[in-house]
């Protein structure tokens, strides 16, 4: 066969079988109520109320008027949801003292419509035991795996929160105060603004950032003799990811589910993630376990379940693991600015001073400074903040 033809075919096949972006008007969106409740007995939990919004909208929609959220126990206990001022639609339930040995039902009244919603009496499933969280190096990625076991519980869902510390490329020991921030008296002395050293412990070098799982993490041991799994990977991070650069922390919270709740999650997962490939199942919506008392025909989204809490955490310290691959990080070198009158312009263009020039013949009182783009010397420009978690093991701020 002709080699040229082979090549031609190969090249054209590169474009075959592809996925393209597609957008179209899909019809009006029904404003349906969503009630999410993974209630962790023995822990702080929350119930989240929201509405379905159009697929192409960028905003989320929550009930405007306050709702009442109540978890009633068969043993006579009851726990009221407290609206969380910082997150709309969130109602906090303190279940730290709740008994795992009774049944509960959730009652919700939507403040917007006045409609009442309820679940059946639900049992609390027994906690799983997290044996370990571990990290493994896989070529250019780091995988985090979970090992756990349970006694009789076969369905698991977990989610995670991660926090990581990172630094900017250069540590700035000084900062620039523009003219507009100076007092009139200082202005006269510093017509181009002034550069001031950071006080001790203050910097824009160390930052903290965090994230939480958005994907649905579920697993079952239905086909296994033993209800456990070992090093099941659920999170992979590229070695070039800045999360691994200093100290990475992940906290995993595992809920055990009954089969119906598991199936509900699985359905959501396949509806939302496993779509459109040749053998992916056609989407179909499964009914949850919360219903409207006034109108049995209203379709409410959400499956409420209760589980004893199981949590575990893992730190990955790059000082010890050396996972981080900094080759992907690209930065520019600071440059010496010898003339003060350039400062306002440099600053306006996004640069900040890093450190003063030292050496023989350099003015002690009014030295020139090295300047660099703030993206290289201010860690906040990379999405993090200076708010260090209270439990963070590193001492620096």
């Amino acid at each position: 066969m002709n080699k040229h033809i082979l090549l031609l075919v190969a090249v054209s096949l590169l474009a075959a079988g592809c996925v393209y972006d597609f957008s179209a008007y899909l019809g009006p969106t029904q404003k349906r109520l969503v009630v999410e409740g993974e209630l962790m007995v023995g822990s702080q939990s929350k119930v989240i109320l929201s509405y379905v919004t159009a697929t192409d909208s960028y905003s989320e929609s929550y009930p405007e008027k306050p709702a009442t959220v109540l978890l009633k126990g068969e043993d006579g206990s009851s726990y009221e949801g407290v609206p969380d001022e910082s997150s709309p639609g969130n109602y906090a339930l303190d279940l730290r003292k709740a008994s795992p040995d009774t049944r509960y039902r959730l009652l919700v009244t939507n403040g917007d419509t006045g409609r009442d919603y309820e679940t059946d009496w639900l049992e609390v499933s027994k906690a799983a035991v997290i044996d370990s969280l571990s990290s493994m190096l896989l070529n250019d990625k780091v995988a985090i795996g979970i090992s756990l076991h349970a006694n009789g519980e076969k369905y698991f869902r977990w989610n995670y929160e991660e926090i990581y510390e990172y630094t900017s490329d250069y540590r700035a020991y000084v900062y620039y105060v523009p003219v507009s921030s100076l007092t009139p008296a200082e202005r006269a002395a510093n017509p181009f603004g002034k550069v001031v050293p950071y006080p001790d412990n203050e910097n824009n070098y160390y930052c903290w950032s965090g994230d939480h799982s958005t994907e649905i993490l579920i697993f079952n041991t239905k086909e296994q003799s033993d209800d456990r799994f070992v090093d099941l990977e659920f999170r992979t991070i590229a070695r070039t990811n800045i999360r691994l650069s200093e100290l990475y922390y992940i906290k995993v919270r595992v809920a055990t589910l009954n089969e119906d709740a598991y199936r509900y999650w699985q359905n959501i997962k396949s509806n939302s993630d496993y779509n459109g490939s040749l053998f992916s199942p056609n989407p179909s919506e499964m009914r949850g376990n919360i219903r409207c008392i006034q109108d049995a025909g209203e379709s409410v989204i959400g499956f409420i379940y209760l589980s004893q809490a199981a949590e575990a955490e893992l730190y990955i310290d790059n000082q010890k693991t050396h996972y981080y691959d900094s080759r992907g990080r690209y930065s520019i070198s600071p440059e010496l600015c010898e003339s003060k009158d350039l400062w306002p312009n440099l600053f306006r263009l996004g640069n900040i001073p890093v450190v003063q020039e030292t050496g023989p013949g350099v003015s002690e009182t009014d030295p020139p400074y090295y300047w660099v783009s703030k993206y290289c010397a201010d860690c906040r420009t990379m999405g993090g903040t200076k708010s260090k978690p209270s439990f963070w093991p590193n001492k620096h701020q």
């Binding site: 002709n2 075919v9 474009a15 079988g17 179209a24 379905v52 919004t53 958005t214 009914r287 025909g297």
Partner: protein, 962 residues
């Protein structure tokens, strides 16, 4: 007493004389002569003598022009009458002469004859004038024993065996004569001979039976689906073994043999008694046929059944296909009324039926998954297939067990004369096949005329074999696809298949066939999952035409379909799931001719099902996975049927059948039984205009449970039991068929169809390894209707077909499950509901060797379920769905072009190479296989469109025959 005539009939290649056959119109008593006429063509050939026929008194003037030939006028003839024809062609002239002069006229028209004739004269003189006119155009007219013969004088009969005509074709030692003829078979144009069946003194009256085999002259292979008919209502088509049987009145007939890619054959026969006549036909070489589907227009007008499509293999190889691999299923998809959910999807949908409602038979074995490589190729190796037949509406009573259609794929019988084979090379696949006679002393000289049918099948058996195989080397292409851009990226796919069959003819009446078929597929996309499936079929078939009126076919076999997948999470939890659908079957069917106008079929079918709905086992030794198996399901399907074709006259033909089927589920238990009805009828207004109607009902006891749009290895089959009811369906259909000018077939068919107990599943159902699967299934009603228009041109340089279909298909849940009821209990679009559909397949033959093919396909986009909104749940965006299948993907359009180069006709050359190259999807349109929305792990909502072949795909395919 019976006698047998066995000849090879080889029309001459260069010159194709045709015996046009004209219905006898009004018999004029004067010319009713005795039946016992010896027709010997040589008389006319040699002498050129002719006896003018005395005209008879007529009383009125008849004037005839080419488009005005009334046969109904019954005039009183007088001597003063003037007869006139103006610019009529030879056929019309003869028709006129038949009416006015002599009803017994036989003529052979030169195939290139374009002449017209204008004759005017007194009735007494008229025939003489006609004769003059004919002679001017090169025809000789002669008479013998009261019949008239018009033959072209340029015809080359010089090489006829001397003494042949002198023998008169009668008496004497038949066997000796036949042997002699057979030895001369390359030099005789047999259309010019009269074949006598039976002895002239047999003394039979009324009707007698004529039967025989039709074979390819070159390979000795039986020809399937060849129409055999005479000028009256007698019509039949050869069966899978090339066998035909026809009931004909005693006397002179012209028997026509026509099959799509064969030279038409018109034989003069003289019937005295029951007998047999084996015929060898030659493939059209000079005729410019490329793509020719379906039958000849003849079977369309003669057969009472509706909604039948036939495709010969030479057609299949010319229809452009992705990667150039000639593909049976892709050609089926170009037929009206057949749809699929997308380009790379296994299975097909016929008239609104789902993919599991098609009975796909390959040499009588059931194929459960007809596709290789996620639907890119079909499992049938075209090298070993002779023909496929698709029954969309009228399903013969002998078939059952599926409610939508029957696709009957027939393998070829090996060449009985010599060892031949072929090798095919494509970009993704390669294939080979080998065939030939087995054992010594077979097929030497001629493959015909063994034994002599009079019952003394003197041990001269004939054994042939054919084997074929295919494999793929597609991984190199899959490896080229960049990651993340395609489903196939990083994937692996491999398949292979093997066919083998051996046929043994004990004698002309009895033969035994053994078939084996194996196929294997495995493939993986990105991720942890590897899929695989296997088809396996074995069958043994005995056929016997134990006397002139009765034939018998007995088939027994074993079919197996196994599929499964591996989920390789890690060493502790990795597992593999496999399912199996196995069946042992036996069929016995009889065909009998009853009386003059009835043809009866009856028989018994039995299928014993052994289903393994799922076995789960660990992938690794050090594992936590416990092996588990779902309960095996067993059931026995039994059916008895009887059907009758009643042909009261040439215009009307009716077929009625009843099939009583029952199903006993041993596990999970339960039984069902009910009758199925098959009716069809046709009425021909004229030779070329017929009307048909049909009704059929069907039961199905095995169900495919799938949550994907096409057949996937994750699907499971489920038997009917006490919880799962059998699927039932009925279809009423009607059609109008019109052949214009013998060249263009126009047909219109309409249908209305209902189904019940088609299984859908509850939302969230887990279909694999589910012990309580039947609790998760919901039965639905199905409703489908449509109109199919087909325009087909089978002759000429340009041929092919163009079809338009309007059809709708809906489903509705049978039970009310409250808010969970799909679509609130209303009708919703079935996944394959594509209302408008235009298809064109055209082939233009530039020269004998070069032809160009074009394929067009347009259809409305298929329905899909799209999200109605999004919401935040579990930390990320999720999609909300409401109505099922309410949205449609963009319309589908594709154009393919191919160029076929056939080998030159150097008969002595050892091998012939044909080359096909072309471009699939010339316009490069990005046709949507699916439109879907994902949330990418919950972070954002994205609309996506999957396009399987989103660009022009060039291909080249080499085929070497030796």
């Amino acid at each position: 007493m019976k006698s047998v005539v066995r000849f090879a009939m080889i029309p001459r290649v260069a010159m194709i004389p045709r015996v046009a056959m004209i219905p006898r119109i009004a018999m004029i008593p004067h010319f009713v002569l005795g039946f016992r006429i010896l027709l010997i063509l040589s008389v006319m050939l040699a002498s050129g003598t002719m006896t003018p026929i005395a005209a008879h008194p007529a009383s009125s003037t008849h004037s005839v022009s080419s488009n005005q030939l009334s046969s109904s006028e019954q005039s009183i003839l007088t001597a003063s009458n003037i007869l006139e024809v103006k610019r009529v062609d030879l056929d019309s002239l003869v028709r006129f002469l038949k009416k006015e002069v002599n009803p017994r006229i036989y003529y052979i028209k030169d195939s290139r004859e374009q002449s017209t004739f204008s004759v005017k004269g007194e009735r007494v003189d008229f025939f003489r004038l006609v004769e003059v006119a004919l002679r001017e155009k090169g025809y000789n007219v002669s008479t013998y024993d009261g019949a008239l013969y018009i033959l072209h004088s340029k015809s080359l009969y010089a090489s006829l065996p001397t003494g042949f005509f002198d023998r008169g074709g009668v008496s004497g030692d038949n066997a000796e004569l036949h042997r002699y003829l057979a030895s001369q078979n390359l030099s005789v144009t047999y259309e010019n001979k009269v074949y006598e069946i039976g002895e002239s003194d047999a003394g039979r009256t009324g009707k007698v039976y004529l039967s025989g085999y039709v074979r390819d002259i070159a390979s000795g292979e039986p020809l399937v689906g060849v129409s055999v008919y005479d000028e009256s209502s007698a019509y039949t088509a050869t069966d899978a073994d090339g066998f035909y049987r026809l009931q004909l009145p005693v006397g002179d007939r012209i028997l026509n043999f026509s099959g799509y890619s064969m030279e038409d054959l018109h034989l003069n026969i003289k019937l005295f008694d029951d007998g047999s006549l084996d015929v060898s036909m030659k493939e059209k070489v000079t005729a410019l046929t490329g793509v020719v589907i379906s039958a000849d227009d003849v079977s369309r007008h003669k057969d009472s059944r509706i909604g039948i499509e036939k495709v010969r293999i030479n057609t299949i190889s010319k229809v452009p296909a992705a990667f150039g691999e000639a593909d049976v299923l892709k050609v089926v998809l170009t037929l009206p009324g057949v749809k699929s959910v997308g380009e790379a999807s296994s299975g097909f949908n016929v008239r609104g039926g789902s993919t599991d409602q098609n009975l796909i038979l390959f040499n009588d074995g059931t194929i459960y998954n007809p596709s290789h490589m996620f639907g890119l190729f079909s499992t049938f190796n075209t090298d070993v297939i002779s023909e496929i037949e698709l029954y969309k509406s009228s399903i013969p009573s002998e078939f059952g067990g599926r409610i939508s259609s029957v696709l009957d794929v027939r393998g070829r019988e090996g060449n009985s004369n010599k060892l031949t084979g072929s090798v095919g090379l494509g970009l993704l696949t390669s294939r080979f096949h080998l065939e030939g006679p087995l054992g010594k002393g077979n097929g030497k000289g001629n493959g015909k005329g063994k034994g002599n049918g009079n019952g003394n099948g003197n041990g001269q058996g004939r054994t042939t074999f054919i084997v074929g195989g295919r494999t793929t080397y597609s991984n190199w292409i899959l490896n080229l696809i960049p990651e993340g851009r395609s489903d196939y990226a990083g994937g692996k796919a491999a398949f292979r298949d093997l066919n083998a069959s051996v046929s043994h003819h004990f004698n002309e009446r009895t033969s035994l066939h053994a078939y084996a078929y194996l196929s294997h597929d495995d493939f993986a996309f990105q991720g942890d999952t590897t899929f695989r499936y296997d088809n396996m079929n074995f069958s043994l078939k005995l056929r016997s035409n134990f006397n002139e009126k009765n034939s018998l076919i007995v088939v027994a076999g074993y079919d197996s379909y196994r599929s499964g997948f591996d989920n390789d999470f890690n060493e502790q939890s990795g597992y593999t799931i496999s399912t199996g659908t196995n069946q042992a079957f036996a069929k016995i069917s009889f065909k009998s001719s009853l009386g003059q106008k009835h043809s009866l079929s009856y028989g018994l079918n039995g299928v014993y099902y052994m289903l393994n709905p799922g076995t789960l086992s660990p992938l690794y030794k050090e594992t936590l996975v416990t092996p588990r198996s779902l309960d095996e399901q067993n059931g026995l399907e039994l059916a008895a049927y009887v059907s009758d074709v009643w042909t009261p006259d040439e215009k009307l033909s009716l077929e009625g059948g009843i099939r009583y089927s029952g199903f006993v589920a041993m596990r999970p238990g339960g039984y069902h039984h009910s009758p199925e009805f098959r009716f069809s009828g046709k009425y021909s207004f004229r030779d070329n205009l017929s009307l048909k109607a049909g009704f059929n009902s069907m039961n199905q006891y095995i169900h495919l449970i799938s949550n994907t749009s096409s057949i996937s290895p994750m699907d499971t089959w489920q038997l009917t039991g006490d919880k799962v009811k059998p699927q039932k369906g009925w279809q009423a259909a009607g059609g109008l068929y019109w052949t214009v000018g013998g060249k263009l077939d126009i047909s219109m068919e309409g249908y209305y169809k209902r189904m019940s107990n088609y299984l859908d599943y509850k939302s969230g159902a887990v279909l694999v390894m589910n012990e309580a699967l039947s609790d998760w299934l919901v039965p639905t009603y199905g409703k489908a209707y449509g109109v199919e228009l087909l325009l087909k041109k089978t002759v000429g340089k340009l041929n092919g077909w163009l079809s338009y279909t309007y059809s709708r298909t809906f489903l509705r849940e049978m039970q009310d499950r409250g808010v969970e009821t799909i679509n609130g209990g209303d009708w919703y679009n079935a996944p394959h509901d594509k209302p408008h559909d235009v298809k064109m397949v055209a082939n233009y033959k530039i020269t004998h060797r070069y032809s160009v093919s074009l394929n067009l396909d347009y259809s409305t986009g298929r329905p899909v379920t799209v999200p109605n909104g999004k919401y935040v749940y579990g930390g990320g965006y999720r999609l909300a769905y409401t109505e099922r299948n309410a949205y449609r993907v963009p319309d589908y359009f594709r154009m393919d072009l191919a160029m076929n180069i056939e080998p030159g006709h150097y008969l002595k050359q050892f091998s012939h190479m044909s080359v096909t190259f072309g471009v699939y999807n010339v316009t490069g349109r990005r046709n949507a296989y699916s439109v879907f929305y994902t949330t990418q792990g919950g972070t954002a909502v994205h609309g996506r469109m999957l396009s399987v072949f989103a660009c022009p795909i060039p291909y080249i395919n080499l085929n070497l025959k030796f």
